[in-house]
């Protein structure tokens, strides 16, 4: 495979005795949308945090546009991060700031834009995720979980970043709003030419937004391929996951009554 825009090779990460990533190797071409699927607790969020440098991988290499990014510091790291947008699984909104200030944060602090201009952009992005201007003046604690998620999404795309990570963008949304968000993600890739990595459990969403799909299991990528081939993957783990069957090679550690 040609050198991807985002390239992880053999990334490992443990927390004490607990091995979370056991050598993740993954490649995303520029302008592509990769969806990562996989069971709960298999290390999907940890993988994104390693790429962002929020967690330090124990070993392995992560390259963005051919440049090694593990261990970047100071200015180089800020410059690197300003190319990213990230939607956190738990939204992670700043609860001391109003909703619009959350969305405008990267523009004002990271890009030194004037507050008034950043405010206009923030309200525009809020509109794109289906939130009315009144919501912009509320505080995150006054929003429902799904609304917080959408604000997080607006914040992630506010600065029109080159690379966007979405950690479960549609979890907690109603099916219609989930589809609106799916369209928005597709649009980000098309319009901005952004490269995106999304994590989801929602196969409908995955099929809609993915160019490629990768499946992670026990800290390793066990399958990666174009989205349309997922039904013919020939991989029993993937088959079990996309059909949501309790029986199969993936065993959930639950106590049977």
């Amino acid at each position: 495979m040609a050198e991807g825009y985002i390239e992880l090779s053999n990334v490992k990460k443990s927390f004490g005795p607990k091995h979370v990533l056991n050598g993740v190797t993954l490649s995303v071409p520029k302008g592509h949308s990769l969806v990562v699927i996989g069971g709960s607790g298999t290390g999907k969020s940890v993988m994104l945090k390693c790429v962002l440098g929020l967690l330090q991988p124990d070993s392995g290499s992560i390259r963005i546009a051919g440049e090694e990014v593990v261990g970047l510091k100071g200015k180089a790291r800020d410059a690197y991060l300003s190319r990213f947008g990230m939607l956190f699984q738990g939204a992670a909104l700043f609860d001391s700031l109003a909703v619009w200030e959350n969305v405008a944060f990267g523009l004002i602090q990271g890009r030194h834009m004037a507050r008034a201009k950043a405010r206009d952009i923030a309200f525009e992005k809020l509109g794109q995720v289906g939130l009315t201007p009144e919501v912009g003046n509320l505080y995150p604690a006054e929003l429902s979980g799904g609304m917080q998620k959408r604000v997080g999404l607006a914040r992630a795309i506010a600065a029109d970043p080159e690379i966007i990570f979405f950690d479960e963008p549609t979890t907690g949304l109603d099916p219609i709003m989930a589809d609106v968000i799916n369209n928005l993600i597709v649009d980000c890739v098309k319009r901005l030419g952004a490269t995106t990595v999304s994590i989801t459990h929602d196969m409908a969403s995955a099929r809609k937004i993915a160019d490629d799909i990768a499946m992670i299991f026990k800290g390793e990528i066990i399958w990666q391929g174009p989205a349309r081939t997922i039904d013919q993957s020939g991989n029993p783990y993937v088959d079990q996951f996309i059909h949501g069957r309790a029986e199969g090679p993936i065993q959930m550690d639950v106590l049977k009554p």
Binding site: K49, L52, G53, L54, D78, A79, L81, S82, F84, G85, M86, F88, G90, A92, L93, F94, D95, S96, F105, G106, Q109, G110, R155
Partner: protein, 257 residues
């Protein structure tokens, strides 16, 4: 169980903690106190740390000044040395009790709130979100709190000095029956510039301790509400102990003839 193993483990844990605090301190100083400076954050923290601590610190100083006057009167009347009341109150408040009690009260009020706020931001990934928005959390969160505490604590203590001496004056003139004019003249004659400045220097150091310990424990909290609670307790206890220890060290240093 072997008692030496216990002692050894406790010693190692303590040394490890000291090392972690030292590393945090390095980042706080090199990253938090160098440009870029977030003026808005500094002003906001000055309000929260300084202005809103005024009532607590003022009341503490007032009652302490009053109690001190009463005690000194009860003690010194045995030697017919009532004229000492004013001067000892002034010395005691400006050199020791003003800074120490203000420091301890602010440690309880502000140290706890800093640790709780940053701890919550840590466990809800808000600090990670800051990083992904290309904003250094040491500059945005830690630096402004340290600057605000170091600047406002001396101001608070200056005010506490005045209120404490006033407390002594009120008790001295109203309930003990000292001459008001003589009380003020005794205070003014006896009090030297160095008495006040030594207290203000102490206050700045205490402010530094409070902000650093609050931020350190908040930043390193993990594990949800319980972890934040633990961080809050540790922040208050450690800053209170450090304040008392630093006070002893500073007293020996500043008043070494």
């Amino acid at each position: 169980m072997n008692i030496f193993a216990h002692i050894g483990r406790a010693t190692l844990a303590l040394l490890a903690e000291v090392g972690r605090v030292a590393l945090f301190l390095k980042d706080a100083l090199l990253q938090g106190l160098t440009p870029k400076i977030f003026v808005r954050q500094i002003l906001e923290q000055m309000m929260r740390i300084g202005y809103f601590s005024l009532p607590v610190v003022g009341l503490t100083a007032f009652f302490t000044g009053g109690a001190l006057a009463l005690q000194i009167y009860l003690g010194s009347s045995r030697f017919n040395a009532e004229s000492l009341v004013a001067s000892i109150v002034a010395l005691g408040i400006t050199r020791e009790l003003g800074p120490v009690l203000a420091g301890l009260m602010v440690a309880g009020r502000v140290g706890a709130s800093i640790a709780a706020e940053l701890g919550t931001m840590r466990v809800t990934e808000q600090i990670d979100a800051l990083v992904t928005l290309a904003t250094n959390p040491f500059k945005y969160l830690v630096g402004p709190r340290i600057i605000a505490a170091v600047v406002t604590l001396p101001i608070l203590v200056g005010i506490a000095d005045v209120i404490g001496i006033m407390g002594g004056y009120i008790v001295g003139t109203r309930s003990i029956g000292l001459n008001g004019y003589a009380y003020i003249r005794n205070t003014a004659d006896f009090l030297e510039f160095d008495d006040v400045t030594s207290g203000l220097i102490k206050a700045a150091v205490f402010g530094f301790i409070i902000a650093v310990m609050g931020c350190y424990h908040g930043f390193n909290s993990k594990g949800g509400a319980q972890g934040v609670g633990r961080a809050t307790t540790n922040a208050v206890v450690s800053s209170a102990i450090l304040i008392l220890a630093a006070n002893f060290a500073l007293t020996s240093l500043l008043f070494a003839e």
